[in-house]
Amino acid sequence: MKINDVILETVTRIVVFIILTFGVELFLSGHNNPGGGFIGGLVLSSAFVLLYLVYDIETVQQGIPFDYKKIAAFGVLLAVGTGVAATVFGAQFLTQTANHFNLPVFGDTELSTVILFEAGVALTVVGVVVTIILSISEDV
């Protein structure tokens, strides 16, 4: 059964990018404003889920050939890895640090190692949510 819904498909094409941008924005602004890894990850995955709902799995898989299990695994590895990395520098496990840098375009920017940890969280959320949804939908 192939559902052909032109309006939904057209809207999705545009909306997905807006959602993805919003997700990235939420993720990056998390340190000082509402947002963060978990929410950012959820928004990103909702964009993917929307794609999968509108188009079928094969089509999306051709365009975005990710293995979401690997993304989730990488996310966990990243989150744990930033914790371990701190121990290499003699700090305690999971110690995070932040500092201000003067970048060419952005000016005075605060960069924090938390962003790596949060990226791990976000990737895990994206990976797990999409994996679960895909598994369930392929099963029926």
């Binding site: 939420l26 947002g35 121990t87």
Partner: protein, 804 residues
């Protein structure tokens, strides 16, 4: 020293690399890559020998969870040095041997990953100073050995053996963990060195004895001491290199290491002395007694390992007597037992490793290990025969092999026990030399069986599938090197004594450090009146006679019925446990979600409601609360309306939308109370849940109103109302009671402490990052769980591997 820390991590890193290398090189050559790891580590460790034998120790700490006292502290002293050298040295030889032993068709990549994992965890166990880290590595050895034993997982016996070894060693490990935690409660430290330094103050505490017994349980299960020895023979289903490595040289010696390491902590206590030495000596006897009846060469070696481990264990027990009264000239003599134990530990690894490899060669070249089918192989396999001869004669305690020296020292130590005037050893002490002598006679018998039944006697070509021939050179190198060590240590024992054993003795006996006589000079000849020598001569005479007349007295073993063995007890327990738990599970796992909810909520009512009632915390006071605005009233009434409407909803879609109303209203609440972050999360979670629901909506069965009995309805309603009431009271009570200082003040400094203005995110990412990390891990495991549950059904046309 950072070197030691890196040495522990290198095998793990190499294990990660193996799959990548395995794809690129011809599969045969993967072993050479892996061989580099233990070889390099051995050389690195060997370079520490001069410094360590000079009394040097190295310590290095990497902070892990400092606030809980858990740090990755590595500690190199004489004791860990011996084990480190054995693990890397025997490890190198085993890998060299396995290159020729395993065929290219095996899953070599998997094999070496497990082996490296095991090597790394083993190094972690011996070099960790922190008990929690030690425990983590300890269980990792159990897990990696489980994987190794089950390497040929299509065989039912392999799976059985792997499960058995894991069940027994892991339960012991958990007991040990409890013991470690008790030690921490006592002394306030997880560091072995700190515990050794302060333990003297706590010996009268009731926890002390319990901690000791629990730690011993871990050591005994790992070292296959009676009655936990039953897993070792079944573990022989593993490939022979694994048996040679795990079950003779390293893993089983982890328990020995633990006993040696904790001798300064618990040594000198009567319970420790009796438990360790008696369990050890009985294991020695029981293992040797059972070894004689075996017809499978590998099973024979398994029981012999059990018995030799018992020997070492009992010696450590006897040696702990020296610590009873602190240092005195009289008690130095009892430290000889520990010296003998450490010496025999090394000797055992050399000769038993060689013997395992010999048996592997026989198995590999002839396709059988059954001694009833073997015989007369001497002329076909002269080199293998020589190695087997050296190994077994050393095990039997004959000169000129290293086993002779340590066996003599063993006899001397058990003879010394009679003179011990502590712990009321006067009468019981005589039993030790007697049991030791009988066990040695049996040891002699089975050592002879190994070499003579296999290589001498009648050759039986009709019973063999293959024509016997000598093994390829590559397979002979590793056992030959071990055999050279067996002979070499006999001729230069004091080299080992002075350079390797001296620092280890200092580590086991901190108060005796530097005392004369702690490290004896090992001599070959003490004169004809030397009691241990006479005992050895007796062993040879009686043992020889028993071997010659074996077939006349073998019926001894048929006296006790087979069903009485510990094995059948284990199997019985396993079957009963499975039956019982499946009956129990069947009783409450009805498959209906509503039943599960009833369990959960009933538990909640009794646990939370009950404790609230008993402690009188259900009182609350509303006078201090803020006033409620009209906005909040509206949202609450909307939510209440939606909640009640769900009950009466006619279609599933309506119910779902009403549920959404509830969720989004909560988000609205967050907005009203100025928690944008939570509001955002709530909205998105709600959205994703709704999307998920829409996904399966099409496939859900028809929504039908159920007609349930009135009694069910009453029960359900009362549970629902009680839960609602309790939650409400709980929420109101929380407002009114302040038992502790609020921790929110701490988070107010989030910008200074964590550099972030978003307080929620700094809590998640900085202050409580451990929670978040573990949540992510849990999420991942849940995702993988869902995936495997749905996806990994048996492939169509695939082999049914479970029932071969």
């Amino acid at each position: 020293m950072l070197t030691i820390t890196i040495a522990i991590l290198i095998p793990f890193l190499a294990a990660v690399l193996v799959p990548f290398v395995y794809k690129r090189v011809p599969s045969r050559n993967i072993g050479w890559f892996v061989l580099l790891v233990p070889l390099v580590l051995f050389i690195v460790l060997a370079r520490f020998i001069p410094a360590v034998s000079g009394g040097e120790t190295y310590i290095h700490t990497i902070k892990w969870i400092d606030s809980a006292g858990i740090n990755f502290t590595t500690y190199l002293d004489g004791l860990s040095m011996i084990f480190g050298l054995l693990i890397t040295g025997v490890g190198s030889l085993v890998i060299l041997y396995s290159i020729y032993y395993l065929s290219e068709r095996e899953a070599l990549g998997r094999f070496y990953v497990y082996l490296l994992m095991f090597m790394g965890s083993m190094l972690g166990v011996i070099f960790s100073d922190n008990l929690m880290v030690l425990y983590v590595f300890w269980e990792l050895t159990s897990i990696s050995s489980f994987l190794l034993i089950a390497f040929w997982y299509h065989r039912k016996k392999s799976r059985y053996g792997a499960q058995k070894s894991m069940l027994i060693t892991v339960s012991g490990g958990i007991a040990m963990l409890a013991g470690f935690i008790m030690l921490h409660t006592l002394t306030g430290s997880f560091s072995v060195r700190e515990i050794i330094a302060t333990i003297g103050q706590y010996t009268d505490d009731s926890l002390f004895l319990l901690a000791m017994l629990l730690v011993l349980l871990g050591a005994f299960t790992k070292s296959a001491q009676f009655p936990f020895h039953i897993w070792l023979p079944d573990a022989m289903e593993a490939p022979t290199p694994v048996s040679a490595y795990l079950h003779s040289a390293t893993m089983v010696k982890a328990g020995i290491y633990l006993v040696a390491r904790f001798t300064p902590v618990f040594g000198g206590e009567a319970v420790w002395f009796y438990t360790v030495s008696c369990v050890g000596i009985f294991t020695l006897f029981w293992g040797s007694f059972n070894a004689v009846r075996q017809t499978d060469l590998k099973a024979l070696l398994a029981y012999s390992t059990i018995s030799q481990l018992g020997l070492i264990m009992s010696l450590f027990g006897l040696g702990s007597a020296a610590l009873n009264e602190g240092y005195s000239a009289d008690s130095v003599i009892y430290t000889q037992a520990t010296f003998a134990a450490l010496f025999h530990l090394i000797n055992h690894s050399t000769f038993k490793g060689a013997l395992f490899m010999v048996v592997g060669i026989v198995d590999h070249e002839l396709g059988t290990r059954d001694i009833r089918r073997l015989g007369g192989l001497m002329s076909f396999m002269p080199v293998t025969f020589t190695i087997a001869l050296i190994g077994s004669f050393s095990m039997a305690g004959l000169p000129p092999f290293n086993g002779f020296l340590s066996k003599e020292m063993f006899f001397e130590s058990v003879l010394n026990v009679r003179n011990l005037d502590i712990f009321a050893m006067g009468t019981w002490g005589t039993l030790f030399p007697v049991v030791a002598w009988i066990a040695s006679v049996l040891t002699f018998v089975y050592s002879m069986i190994i070499v003579f039944k296999t290589f001498l006697g009648q050759h039986q070509p009709a019973r063999l599938d293959k024509v016997p021939h000598e093994a390829p050179v590559g397979m002979l190198i590793a056992p030959s090197i071990l055999a050279i060590f067996v002979v070499g240590i006999f001729f230069f024992p004091n080299l080992v004594g002075n350079y390797i054993l001296r620092p280890a003795m200092a580590a086991v006996y901190p108060p005796f450090e530097g005392v004369e006589g702690l490290v004896p000079h090992i001599t070959y000849w003490h004169g004809f009146n030397y009691m241990p020598l006479l005992m050895t001569i007796g062993v040879v005479i009686v043992g020889g006679a028993l071997y010659l007349f074996l077939r006349y007295w073998r019926s001894v073993y048929e006296v006790a019925p087979l069903s009485w063995t510990l094995d059948s007890l284990y199997n019985g327990i396993l079957v009963q446990a499975e039956k019982g738990s499946s009956r129990l599970t069947g009783f409450y796992m009805t498959g209906y979600l509503r039943d599960y909810l009833v369990y959960i909520f009933t538990f909640f009512i009794f646990a939370v409601g009950g404790s609230m009632f008993l402690t009188g915390t259900y009182l609350f006071d509303l006078s201090g609360d803020a006033s409620i605005t009209i906005n909040e009233y509206i949202i609450v009434f909307v939510m209440m309306g939606a909640g009640i409407a769900i009950i009466f909803a006619k279609s599933r879609m309506t119910a779902m939308i009403l549920n959404g109303v509830l969720g989004y209203s909560i988000a609205l609440f967050f907005v009203v109370f100025r928690a944008p972050d939570l509001a955002l999360t709530q909205i998105i979670v709600e959205t994703v849940t709704t999307a998920l629901f829409l996904l399966c909506f099409r496939f859900l069965p028809e929504w039908k109103k159920e007609k349930s009995a009135l009694s069910t309805k009453i029960v359900n309603a009362s549970i629902a109302i009680s839960v609602g009431a309790i939650v409400t009271i709980l929420a109101l009570t929380v407002q009114g009671n302040k038992m502790f200082e609020s921790i929110s003040v701490y988070f107010e400094d989030s910008y200074e402490l964590a550099g972030g203005k978003n307080i929620v995110n700094t809590i998640l990412g900085d202050f409580r990052a451990f929670d978040t990390m573990l949540e992510v891990v849990v999420l991942f495991i849940a995702g993988i769980g869902v995936f495997t549950l749905i996806k990994l059904k048996a492939w169509k046309g695939g082999k049914d591997v479970e029932n071969q």
